[in-house]
């Protein structure tokens, strides 16, 4: 990681130490600094998986055909069926098998996107090739090769993708149309609401939806107008001629015989349209400090993606979103993709992120017009153990928003204890005084199943 960041962290650590740190707190900070300063082996998934011999076949090699990739989103009708079946499994006493919330990266270059696909696995007794009896743990993924180079010589390299590499496989390989996340988010939101019985939003009543008027060529008019609607006109012409007996069901159509009545011309005409403005504004905020690496990040981003999908459905697409990441400082990123992909950075200070949310809301005067939701994901660490600034920022924030949902995805080493953030939130009393607005869901982030994540969502939005 970069040195500037590390120096900043060291400085911060010094200041904090002068103010006095508990042993526990110090351990936590050192752990994170260590984490950042240490060079870390990239994730397993960063390593290239070579295409295995069984995936190469005559269709692609000899016939030069592309084997079609199954796109589960094409089968949404069957998805409903699948989910229904999955629900029955529970009744029948078997674990569910359809999993949602897998994030799949599409496209290698430029902007990738994140989508959810229903996935499953076929569990069997398989040999596990990940566990080997080799001395060097850093090595992985052997394959063949040919050429003149001597042993040890490097053939090529690829930079470790700072944005991380995608989870999941298959579905999206090989490009295709780029999808915006909202297209699928709506469907998934529907599924989440209906199949997983997430609650529908209650109208809080104190916010009014905004109406805006726009002019668009949507109305149809016979005889005159701005734009000829050819298809509708043709239909009308045929209609008229059927009445006149020029067109019969069995005879051949003779175009010359058709009569054209000027009144049959259908035009599009400018008209007033009511347009709803976004009703919901959602802030997704997450910690991306060193300690978030791995499971906590995975859990938080999965949950946020599903939350986003659910809100898109609830507000029928009228949702605006802002994405904020923080380590010791907060920064806004432009899309969910970046929000999801951004790899861990430095130390942990929570306050700047909430200050930033406040600032964005105030500057744009959002509080007046929007239902505002803030979802925050963390592993529960904060270098500032008193949380004074954070509590202050949250206090300013609370009156302006409908919901602050905090996900604490605990790391393995903190699982047993209450985390720093939980402690100071508890101490501040906010959880009681504002229990309608603040919801907190805390769980260990290792081996989290989708069900747990979805249950967490229920907790955050009920």
């Amino acid at each position: 990681m970069n040195l500037i960041n590390l120096n900043y962290m060291k400085k911060l650590y010094k200041i904090l130490k002068q103010k006095g740190l508990t042993k526990e707190q110090e351990k936590l900070i050192l752990r994170e600094m260590n984490f950042v300063s240490e060079e870390h082996k990239p994730f397993e998934k960063e390593f290239h998986r070579f295409s295995e011999i069984y995936y190469q076949n005559d269709y692609e090699k000899i016939l030069q055909m592309q084997l079609p990739k199954l796109n589960p989103m094409l089968n949404l009708q069957t998805l409903d069926e699948l989910l229904h079946r999955d629900k029955l499994r529970e009744k029948d006493g078997f674990p569910r098998r359809i999993r949602l919330g897998k994030l799949v990266k599409q496209g290698k270059n430029g902007k990738g996107e994140v989508i959810i696909v229903p996935t499953t696995t076929e569990p069997k007794f398989y040999h596990d090739n990940r566990v080997t009896e080799e001395q060097d743990e850093g090595e992985m993924g052997e394959t063949g090769g040919s050429g003149e180079e001597g042993e040890g010589e490097v053939l090529g390299e690829k930079p470790v993708d700072q944005q991380g590499d995608g989870e999941g496989t298959g579905a999206g390989e090989g490009g295709g149309e780029s999808h915006d996340i909202t297209q699928e988010a709506f469907d998934i939101g529907k599924v989440l609401t209906e199949q997983f019985e997430l609650p529908n939003l209650k109208d809080k009543g104190h916010k009014r939806s905004l109406m805006k008027v726009e002019y668009d060529l949507t109305d149809k008019n016979r005889g005159f107008g701005q734009l000829l609607d050819k298809k509708a006109t043709l239909k009308k012409v045929i209609d008229t001629n059927i009445i006149l007996g020029n067109v019969s069901a069995d005879g051949e159509l003779n175009l010359d015989e058709l009569l054209l009545n000027p009144q049959d011309q259908i035009f599009r005409i400018l008209s007033k349209e009511k347009v709803f403005e976004s009703q919901a504004l959602v802030f997704f905020v997450r910690d991306y400090s060193g300690s978030m690496q791995g499971d906590p990040t995975e859990v938080v981003t999965s949950q946020h993606l599903m939350l986003y999908s659910w809100l898109v459905y609830q507000y029928q697409n009228r949702v605006e979103t802002r994405f904020i990441l923080h380590d010791t400082e907060a920064k806004e990123v432009e899309d969910f993709y970046t929000y999801y992909r951004s790899q861990v950075a430095g130390g942990t200070q929570v306050a700047p992120s909430f200050e930033m949310v406040n600032k964005i809301i105030d500057e744009n005067n959002y509080a007046k017009d929007y239902n505002i939701y803030v979802f925050y994901g963390t592993d529960g660490d904060d270098w500032d153990s008193s949380g004074k600034k954070t509590i202050e920022a949250i206090k300013t924030l609370l009156p302006k928003i409908n919901r602050l949902g905090i996900t604490v995805a605990k790391n393995s080493w903190t699982t047993a204890n209450q985390t720093t953030i939980e402690k100071y939130l508890e101490k501040s009393g906010l959880l009681h005084t504002h229990k309608d607005v603040i919801k907190i869901d805390s769980f260990a982030s290792t081996n989290v199943q989708e069900e747990r994540v979805i249950k967490g969502i229920k907790k955050l939005i009920e």
């Binding site: 011999i53 069984y54 030069q64 079609p68 078997f94 076929e122 090739n129 063949g144």
Partner: protein, 535 residues
């Protein structure tokens, strides 16, 4: 899906004549279809068998390549189905010359399917027809038993990679010792060596005593022999009886069959239909077993023949350049990566060359001088004969294990590519890890399909407990899936199931080096609750 037109069929038939002349051996009848992209969407989840049963997992994306599970074996897609008659699929709009090449490749596959011993059990069957019957059966069950049909399908599929394919095909070869009775075999192989653990000279003495008695009188020699034995070892008779009983219990091909025939749950009248579902899954898996074990040799064989036959065919004229390009795309050795077509083809050519020069003997292997080795040529010209022998008797494993040697690796400049993380440059480097044949062979073998060997310990199994044993072969099982898989097995057995398996545990020594412990553990599932304990 429609049949190819008459014009193209004629090209196919002509190709058959040339292929047969060259020595390939296949049924006259074949069916060729044109498939559209839409057909492919329907066919590909069914591994190109149009009549395979429906199953919901095919509608969902199956997470196959997560992490580093390397061999998540999906059955290989072939453009030819091993059925009677052989069916092959093509896309429209190929120029005629290209079709000639493709047909030669396909004929190579058909020849392999119909002559290689791995496929012996499929020779008398038409799988496509069988699959259709199975599909109808399953949809009939579905209308009768609803989603429970799919549960049984799912649970059977969860153990379908444990089919005893090799047990099945080894039955085709008679290995029994016809001269001696089972009691004699038991006495010498099991009783003396394992139970009594006597010294070697005693065994030799006993053998000559036995031989003498048999020579004196063929009919009663054995009885006399055992009278003596029973005097010396009073426990012999009971040990033998026990052995025979156990033998009887152990005669099952695989775990699936054992469950099907012995499960108290399936024994119930109302559940007997489930056995048919299990059979369908098992037979399907058995059908694909030879295919997945011969990917490299089969593709190599087909590539060898499309190249050999097409380059000698008049119909190539004018298209040599275009052909070379396509052929190179199919059979060139990857700079980095593994191309089964290339490796298979090179190995077959390598064997052919060796056999032609008479290098397949001990004398040649014992030569150490490189110049002598290179010059060695006995002009035996046994190449063709030998590679036909290969296609009759070899699998991927045998081909690689027998013929990947240093000479082969050096000949084609092969190496093992490794990946490592470069801290300074923050990159992942691909580098030449090894040029040793030993490592290259290991890498190849590691990439082959390799399901675990799991058997039933009948002595610990009863109606209320099924005891499975995973034979440790240097690899542990994917732990995440064990519990989920056992849920299905428990359902099929209708009671507690236990699985004995082995974990590889890495331990860091003081000096930083790693030590490995093989820890035996026991999974138990009862009422869908899984517990693990050390053994």
């Amino acid at each position: 899906m429609q049949l190819i037109n008459q014009h193209t069929k004629k090209i196919m038939e002509e190709s058959k004549i040339y292929a047969a002349k060259a020595g390939l051996n296949f049924d006259d009848e074949t069916l060729e279809y044109i498939v559209s992209n839409k057909d492919m969407i329907n066919l590909s989840p069914k591994v190109m068998i149009p009549t395979l049963y429906d199953y919901w997992v095919n509608d969902v994306e199956v997470l196959k390549g997560q992490g580093k599970y390397k061999v998540y074996p999906s059955n290989p897609y072939e453009t030819v189905i091993n059925s009677r008659p052989a069916i092959s699929f093509y896309n429209d709009n190929n120029p005629d010359w290209l079709n000639v090449m493709i047909f030669y490749h396909v004929l190579g596959h058909i020849d392999f399917f119909q002559n290689n011993y791995l496929f012996e059990d499929t020779w008398n069957d038409d799988f496509v027809g069988q699959a259709l019957a199975d599909k109808r059966l399953i949809s009939e069950y579905r209308s009768k038993h609803g989603r429970w049909t799919d549960y049984v399908l799912e649970f059977s599929r969860s153990i379908d990679n444990l089919v005893g394919y090799f047990n099945r095909i080894s039955k085709n070869v008679d290995t029994s010792d016809k001269d001696a009775s089972s009691m004699v075999n038991f006495y010498f192989y099991n009783f003396l060596q394992e139970t009594e653990n006597v010294a070697d000279y005693i065994i030799f003495n006993e053998i000559s005593r036995y031989n003498d008695l048999i020579e004196q009188d063929k009919n009663v020699g054995e009885t006399i022999f055992f009278t003596e034995v029973k005097k010396k070892y009073p426990e012999f008779q009971s040990a033998y009886d026990k052995y025979i009983n156990k033998e009887k219990e152990d005669i099952y091909e695989d775990v699936i069959e054992f469950i099907r025939d012995n499960s108290p749950f399936l024994r119930k009248e109302e559940n007997s239909w489930m056995k048919s579902v299990i059979n369908v899954v098992r037979n399907t898996s058995l059908y694909f077993s030879p295919q997945i074990r011969s990917k490299i040799i089969n593709e190599g064989w087909a590539s060898y023949w499309h190249n050999k036959l097409f380059t000698q065919d008049d119909r190539i004229s004018g298209h040599q350049v275009a052909y070379s390009k396509i052929n190179a795309g199919v059979t060139s050795i990857s700079r980095v990566g593994l191309n089964p077509y290339a490796i298979g083809l090179r190995l077959i050519e390598y064997v052919e060359d060796k056999a032609n020069k008479g290098k397949m003997n001990y004398l040649y292997t014992s030569l150490t001088n490189i110049n002598e080795k290179e010059k060695y040529n006995k002009n035996l010209n046994e190449g063709q004969k030998t590679i036909f022998e290969l296609r009759r008797k070899f699998s991927d494993f045998m081909l690689i294990n027998t013929f990947v040697d240093q000479e082969f690796v050096d000949l084609h400049n092969l190496f093992v590519t490794g990946q490592r993380f470069n801290k300074q440059r923050q990159t992942i480097e691909y580098y030449v890890k090894s040029r040793k044949a030993k490592d290259y062979k290991k890498m190849l073998l590691d990439s082959l399909y390799d399901p675990p060997l799991i058997t039933v310990d009948t002595s610990k199994t009863s109606d209320v407990n099924l005891y499975l044993v995973h034979k440790f072969e240097g690899k542990q099982l994917v732990q995440e899936y064990i519990a989920e898989t056992m849920v299905g097995v428990e359902y099929l057995w209708g009671g507690q199931v236990q699985l004995e398996t082995t974990l590889i545990v890495r331990k860091k020594k003081q000096n930083g080096e790693s030590e490995f412990e093989h820890r035996k553990i026991l999974y138990t599932i009862k009422d869908k609750k899984v517990t693990v304990k050390n053994l």
